[in-house]
Symmetry: C2
């Protein structure tokens, strides 16, 4: 079975060490991770199998993390992680949709690692840690003390290594190719679903040297009056002779995602809409140029806000968020946001999606930029021009 590992062993070891340090400082003996992105980060595990109970356990007294999942997915753990065989544990299929709880199986592994009376961290707000999962674990480990360790690993993930940045550059090139394809085919008469089709095609086809993967959410095609419905589904309808489109696309490479939004006008943009786009780009550029290690997220937002204010505009609450490795349903790391009051200090290797939205009544402009913080500034992760596209 051919191994698919995208980072070397030393990098995984450094990640695990950093997590153990955070655990120790918070008095956590055993960490039970339900978030697929955190599982991937610490072990490399990559398969769409997290819809049945699946965890990675990190114990202070144990060298390797332990992956626990469904029997049929065991082979994916062999294929995509560096873990030794004894660190890959699979529960039999009789635990799936039955009276047995896979969390009993997981609790037994935790006990084996000294978890019976330990302090156990769990991800209370995670997508794949249901109310029942927590109830089952508590019942199976009645003497343990449970604490909320939500986003503990996420805060370590926030600084990307050079190897991670290299993969995010590839994801960025895929996002560029997706946007180019969308701009190429958008014209009056094209069905909305066919724009989605073209975008999805390119998401997977990627570039000649670099294929893509499914993103953490569908692309968002906010067309015409649906501009104000950011997460709505597309329809079968054909584009009219004149409309505006806000397109939010996601390139994904080895689960690392880079976001890219552009506004596209079919027909002639009104002078007011054109002006709006120029103001957004000016403020976006000003904020990007202000990126430096040592500055805070809040400061980036302030630069943007003041640049807008010079033209008499106000902006929405959040200017952006940290991005990186992710699985459905969402890429957001739930760590730093580019917003007023977020005092996270920028460090080289942090990556963000800066996504200003500016609205006039029911039409809006979204021209965004994903970037990495570098030693002395920023590196854009996509190269699509920052401008309003007109077709």
């Amino acid at each position: 079975m051919k191994k698919q590992l995208h980072f070397d062993r030393a990098e995984f070891a450094a990640r695990v060490t950093a997590v153990k340090q955070a655990m120790a400082s918070r008095g956590i003996d055993i960490l039970i991770l339900s978030e697929p992105a955190n599982q991937n980060y610490l072990t490399g595990y990559n398969a769409y199998s997290f819809y049945t109970p699946q965890t990675v356990i990190v114990a202070l007294n144990h060298d390797e993390p332990i992956w626990i999942g469904r029997f049929m997915d065991r082979i994916s753990a062999v294929m995509t992680t560096y873990l030794s065989d004894e660190s890959i544990r699979a529960y039999p299929d009789r635990y799936v949709q039955s009276n047995l709880s896979p969390y009993d199986f997981m609790a037994d592994v935790a006990k084996e690692m000294g978890g019976e009376r330990a302090t156990i961290g769990v991800e209370m707000g995670g997508y794949y840690y249901s109310a029942r999962a927590h109830a089952d674990l508590i019942r199976a480990l009645p003497l343990a003390r449970f604490v909320d360790a939500d986003v503990l690993v996420n805060w370590i993930r926030i600084v990307k290594s050079p190897a991670e940045i290299a993969i995010m550059r590839q994801a960025g090139r895929i996002a560029d190719a997706m946007m180019q394809r969308a701009i190429d085919i958008i014209k009056p008469g094209v069905r909305e679903c066919d724009i989605a089709a073209a975008v999805y095609y390119q998401m997977m086809a990627g570039t000649p040297d670099c294929g893509g993967s499914y993103a953490c959410s569908p692309p968002y095609l906010c067309i015409g009056e649906r501009a104000i419905a950011p997460h709505a589904a597309w329809t079968d309808e054909a584009l009219p002779a004149s409309t505006s489109i806000n397109l939010e696309l996601f390139g994904n490479r080895h689960r690392y995602q880079v976001n890219l939004s552009r506004s596209i006008v079919v027909g002639n943009p009104s002078p007011k809409y054109q002006l709006l786009s120029e103001v957004v780009v000016e403020a976006l550029n000003a904020s990007l140029e202000s990126v430096r290690p040592g500055r805070t997220c809040s400061e980036l937002e302030e630069v943007f806000r003041k640049a807008l204010a010079r033209h008499g505009f106000e902006k929405e609450a959040r200017l952006g968020y940290s991005i990186g490795v992710g699985f459905p349903p969402a890429v957001g790391e739930r760590t730093a946001s580019l917003r007023k009051g977020d005092e996270t200090v920028l460090q080289p290797g942090m990556t963000f999606h800066m996504m200003p939205g500016l609205w006039l009544d029911t039409v809006g402009i979204t021209i965004t930029q994903s970037f990495a913080v570098t030693e002395n500034g920023h590196e854009p992760l996509t190269s699509t021009p920052r401008k309003l596209f007109v077709k």
Copy 2:
């Protein structure tokens, strides 16, 4: 704002009535639904917004369900549901990723509906009902009695109306088009990611009269030695001159999903592999021909198992499961399974994915059939021939 409703008001009313009857019989006053598919079923709501807290509340003493979600998604509720304005409640963005809990907001709505001392049903095992969501709700409603109402709505969804079946036929035609496109392009030298690209393209482009939507999971491309890793990601590698592929695809129309798997051989199948495929098809056909209202899921499995046994083969545990409306991460209704011991009685309007898998060491055959139970038999929901494809 143009309404996008795919069922008439009477059908939604009947669904709500059926849910209220089930609630009453279990002593539940108020049902707080976190599963997006159940929200869609009762209100029509369709947007990819469930990654932030979102619920639909059904109260015995209240005519309409109440949708509660994030402010920016309110407009999607206006657009895709029949709910009156006062039944659409949105929490402000200051509840998103902050110290405030959206569940406090939801608890206030529940109180308004008499929920303070009520018996409240929640979906303990749902994907979007986290341990923290439950803890927050219990804290906000300390005098209420919470009971597990997981899959209560799912068991009502299991019987589809004629209008739902009509949409699933469209989803089936999309699945057929996806499989045809995959078979067309599969040949030595094609990158795996380009097969994924073609399949995704067709998932959205659908048919000329009927566009598609994103499925509940990515398609599964189990190629060569990855045949035994059912949920693994595809790679950038080119197909070799000779290999076997198990392809699991999902057509989706208005959130209704129809599944379709086929095995495809590149090069010449071994006589043993060809024989295996013929045995699977024979047993699949025998089980399909035995479908009748009044029979049980267990009986369908038995017919299949005996047909295999005539050729000296044994099968895996589960022969299939109920399908219907769904959102990521999984389409499974978590209700009836076609397996030994499942005594669910077949009724017209039930829909299943019958998915036998038969394995010889590390190669396997997956030739499957999604179908609806009719008054006197079954109706296939896809028309791709049930056979091994050779390229």
